[in-house]
Symmetry: C2
Subunit: 475 residues, 2 copies
């Protein structure tokens, strides 16, 4: 039996106090950056910089060692050189710390000596009841409390909190590398596992299943050491919340590459494929999908069936959408005669599903044109009993009026929706995406991605019914 | 035998004079917009607005009919109501015009009456030797001469010219919908076929094969009426230039939808699949790929083999890259001992392919750090005889120095390269993409897309050798 890490992980994401042990030189990387990130993001807990060579940094007193901190801290973050880490971990045990994040690299990913060092550190922590994240990680983030441990400079100073927990075996998902300021969907928790010498995906699943802030769990996993346990846990969690997984390593070459950067061996891909299916896990194939797919789960109700309506600004895009829908298991909804009548009353060129706004667009090229007509169109489609989910290609004309046009239907939350904004300005599209996401409608870089995300929501609705009991209606 | 349209198509893209027949009301759509677009984009030919109700528009004299224009025009563009189009086409014939673009909708895509009207228009044009694009189209563009016929307002007023010819059965690819100002790759020609009552993909292929400005041809085709002829022509052209095709309609549902918005029936998908393979055509699966894949052909030398090197900023992204490479037929290059030695001399953590800059990034977090070291790294990889193509994940540190860092190796044009810029600011990534593309390095929204584009270049290199003669070395 593995010991439960739930309490330690909870403190890790809500620390009342943090020690930061590492270089405090004013640079672009290191302890100085971590401390200043915490201050900039408004972390309200106590911060204890640790370094024997400094007395004060950023107006905070510096402690020569973690042992010298006058209280047991909830979290120690260290980016000191690998050789110094065993000492810092021993000091943390002596301090009575609950958890530590070892940002430092030079462990199992760097040869035999690194492996030995990692074992030593793990042994010290385990003996002292200290739980570890890492080594070789940028750590964690909890936007709701301004918690951010990355040792890299972040170009903005606000993270939006939301329902997505994003955990990965890479720092690529960290705030220093994600355009969180220019997008507008939120995280509940972020965690980079690093080398996973202690706390791993099973601990996170166990914690996140109970976390009321987390609606969907997105995991990037290069290595799963305890396959059986993961399978059982993932299945248990999937009955409550969607678990979206990116598992690379489909080829022997990539498995070798994973071994070299994480220091662990990955198993055969087909084993994982089967395991994920049994566990009710939604498998995605790229980092883009790992980031984008969870948005539909975080903000939308689950679809009751697989019948898709498409609102498009071009017949050709509608046709592509139908192909993507069919390939991902969705059926094109048949709009009822009553709905078709309502649409025709708004514009005679709105003939069916896909509902193509294109031919009517010239007529709407008056101020307020499309924005004035869109609510009635969308409402007519959403009210159709034959429609379970809706992909919308949004025309430019509603820029600045998105809350007004879409707000009321979002508040009623009737059907699952996903949006694609395309057009001649990347900057305006980004602005409209923010408008949409701030009222709770997920946006996607193209129609294909929006429809695929809806198909994952349909798939998960089926999985959940299957895990909870017999499912009569879903494919 | 179909009559050659090459001369007419050439004039269509280089008209000395254009008549614009349609509403001249100052609005967001229509003839007024087309005329003002031509003026804003610096079209240098003569512009003749045509409308019986106006005397002057935008400081240009207006003619009551195309018949009244004092010279035979090269091109007539009309967005008049469908019922008025036969008259305008008859007038154009009388004027001696070479070609006409029928922007107006309400033809074969709109029922029996529309079909009849389209036949009538086509008959009048054919009898008079006038070639037609459309109906139901936004027309053409030729950035090099400021030619733009779209009746929609465009939010910018400059198009970059380049080597990509982009032709589609939709206006979705038009300047009014493409962020050409914020990206930085150029078109040679753009053409929306619309309903294809006359000039079609075979005419465009025939013309573009000989067009010295066009290096790669990207086609979106919902319907191919003369399959055999297309096959022969595409094969002929593919021996000289890559032909990238997006052909939707993989499902009966999408084929029905195509029929309703273009008024034509599409054939079975598997027939096209086989035809494309025989013709040496590169088939892509989304509008995104149709836009992105040609960039590698327009700017890069063809690879001599299929051995890929990857420069990454994260081990995890490198692993994903290997999976994508393997799935798309690329092999991971083995760097020579000499190359590995050179890399290790630059940084001891650069251990092999993928070349992971990640572990070294903290050390480069000094001004000029990564930018100063990157050229030697990239050069070492490009000089390795075991490397045919290179995908680069570019770190932030080279922002503003891309021409300096990458310019010299681009000028030598040794190997096929593709770039991915990721990071915490969409705006900065867009700016860096522009920097890269303005020195001729194609950029992609993620590493997967960059590697897939390189794999298409490898595939085409093989196709071309196969079409030209036996290929001993390529897969």
């Amino acid at each position: 039996m593995r010991p439960s890490a739930r309490g330690a992980v909870d403190r890790l994401f809500h620390p009342a106090s943090i020690a930061v042990a590492g270089s405090l030189r004013e640079a672009r990387f290191g302890g100085f950056v971590t401390v200043s990130n915490l201050l900039r993001f408004g972390f309200a807990g106590r911060i204890y910089p640790v370094n024997p060579q400094y007395r004060e940094v950023l107006n905070l007193p510096v402690f020569p060692s973690v042992r010298d901190i006058p209280e047991p801290v909830d979290l120690v973050v260290t980016m000191a050189g690998a050789a110094a880490v065993p000492g810092i971990i021993a000091d943390s045990v002596q301090n009575g710390a609950r958890a530590a994040i070892i940002v430092s690299d030079g462990f199992s990913e760097r040869g035999q000596e690194g492996k030995r060092l990692q074992q030593e550190v793990t042994r010290i922590a385990r003996a002292g009841g200290l739980r570890l994240i890492g080594p070789n990680t940028i750590g964690v983030a909890n936007p709701a409390v301004g918690l951010i441990t990355t040792p890299y400079r972040v170009t903005y100073d606000r993270m939006i909190s939301g329902g997505i927990a994003l955990c990965a075996q890479t720092g690529l998902i960290g705030p220093q590398n994600m355009p969180l300021e220019e997008t507008h969907y939120g995280w509940s928790r972020m965690c980079d596992f690093g080398n996973k010498c202690d706390i791993d995906e099973i601990d996170l699943l166990d914690y996140l299943a109970e976390d009321p802030d987390t609606k969907v769990i997105a995991l990037h996993l290069e290595v799963i050491r305890e396959g059986r346990l993961f399978l059982r846990k993932a299945r248990e969690v999937s009955a409550r919340k969607p678990v979206v997984v990116l598992k690379p390593g489909r080829t022997p070459q990539s498995r070798r590459a994973m071994a070299s950067h994480t220091g662990s061996l990955a198993g055969e891909d087909r084993v994982y494929d089967a395991a994920f299916r049994q566990a009710g896990v939604i498998r995605v194939d790229s980092f883009r999908e790992l980031i984008d797919v969870p948005k539909v789960f975080a903000s939308q109700p689950l679809p009751r069936g697989h019948r898709l309506a498409i609102v498009t600004i071009s017949g050709a895009a509608g046709v592509m959408g139908i192909d993507v829908a069919a390939a991902s298991g969705l059926a094109l909804a048949r709009l009822s005669p009553a709905t078709l009548e309502k649409l025709a009353a708004i514009s005679p060129v709105l003939a069916g599903n896909p509902v193509d706004l294109g031919p009517g667009l010239p007529a709407y090229q008056v101020p307020g044109g499309i924005a004035a007509r869109l609510p009635a169109m969308i409402e007519a489609i959403l009210n159709d009993k034959g429609v379970d989910c809706l992909a919308i290609a949004c025309p430019w004309g509603v820029r600045g009026k998105i809350a007004e046009v879409f707000g009321p239907m979002v508040r009623r939350q009737m059907k699952t929706m996903a949006v694609w904004v395309a057009g001649p300005s990347l900057a305006i599209a980004a602005e409209m995406n923010r408008e949409f996401e701030s009222i709770g409608l997920p946006t996607y870089p193209d129609g294909d991605a929006a429809i695929k995300a809806l198909s994952m929501a349909v798939r998960y609705a089926g999985i959940r019914e299957g895990l909870r009991g017999p499912s009569p209606s879903l494919p």
